[in-house]
Symmetry: C2
């Protein structure tokens, strides 16, 4: 994607950064493959409910599940503290001013863990619908969350992340009665950008609200 | 703000881009001053309600109000079409892949308008809590929106934009009964990052929900 804002020097510089990231991502992907760990990269706007979805997900796992989480934010370790209470390994990545995670950050934080001890590694990216879509972290799949409190045209406005994500999770569906959000339209827009995209609806507040997401996740874990 | 992700070459490049932007921003600021136009730069996550707030704002203005809007998105002119129906000049800035507006984009789109014909220019930035905070557009004030459907710790996680914004607007307060959002805590966090920050609460769905915001805006227009 091009932009009128980029200088002639900025473009090769960004390409250099991205190709260096890609090199690290391929190394990571190979390490994940060797250790047989499924790695998922979860991306959304700030406040779409990534951490809440992960809290419910971790709470639903048996204590013996071999899962770990890396969670990214510009500042604070609030999310890591929220997620750590479920008893699985969690690390916070504080990016400073950077609007996305990259391969180097993942590599550095994985040094503390033995990947052979894991079946599932969930990466919660920085809250941002733009920058994280350009940085491969070696994951098996990107997952994008879209909350029903946002506009249903977000897939059209932020096409890159919807195109690159295997799954869209439409979150906070318990709020549908109170917001002007047309969920069929949102799903149609997502599939306009990404034909055949898998989409599930989720609510962490409602009984049964996790079924679509957990079904997808368990299917993915079985297949990996 | 530093990041472990930056290469040694990336930092001077980013500084160069930012200092070139700053030069353009100062020229814009001087043009705004000469024409006596108040320029506001509105920033938030995707889906926090920037466009909805602007729709209600434009709808409340007398037809003779000398106001115009520039609205930024990665893709689509959906927002410009929503805003244009109120009869004031509106232009969409499509950034392609870029996660923020910059001075050059503003300069280019202002070529179509005579600033002397305006008292108020509202810039609706790209939905993103990170990148837009670094790019001065010559505005008199930045305004950050935070919706009650997002976590109340967003000011701590995205401190730069809360520190740089003169006003925080807490939006979608009509949803407070249905979400686990502690508004006093959110306001305290905003003031922890930015002591003395002005904060108003807004709901475009509720009678009286626009009063705090419109009061601030009219005060600002009178003072400028």
């Amino acid at each position: 994607m091009s932009s009128e804002a980029k200088t002639t020097e900025q473009v090769p510089m960004k390409q250099k950064v991205l190709s260096e990231n890609q090199r690290i991502a391929e190394e990571l992907r190979e390490r994940y493959r060797k250790s047989g760990v499924l790695v998922l990269n979860i991306i959304s706007s700030p406040g779409s409910g990534k951490t809440a979805l992960l809290e419910k997900t971790l709470a639903s796992f048996d204590k013996g599940t071999r899962v770990a989480v890396l969670t990214g934010d510009l500042q604070t370790d609030n999310d890591a503290r929220r997620l750590a209470q479920y008893g699985f390994p969690v690390q916070q990545i504080v990016t400073g001013g950077t609007c996305h995670l990259d391969g180097k950050m993942i590599e550095k934080h994985l040094a503390a863990w033995n990947l052979d001890d894991l079946d599932l590694l969930i990466i919660e990216n920085v809250g941002n619908l733009v920058c994280p879509s350009s940085y491969d972290l070696g994951e098996a799949a990107k997952i994008v969350l879209l909350s029903v409190t946002e506009g249903e045209d977000k897939p059209l406005k932020y096409p890159s992340i919807f195109f690159k994500s295997e799954l869209a999770v439409i979150t906070k569906t318990d709020l549908l009665p109170y917001v002007p959000f047309d969920i069929e339209k949102a799903e149609a827009f997502a599939r306009q950008v990404h034909p055949g995209m898998e989409i599930v609806r989720a609510s962490v507040m409602t009984a049964g609200g996790m079924e679509g997401w957990m079904g997808w996740l368990k299917g993915k874990m079985k297949a990996s």
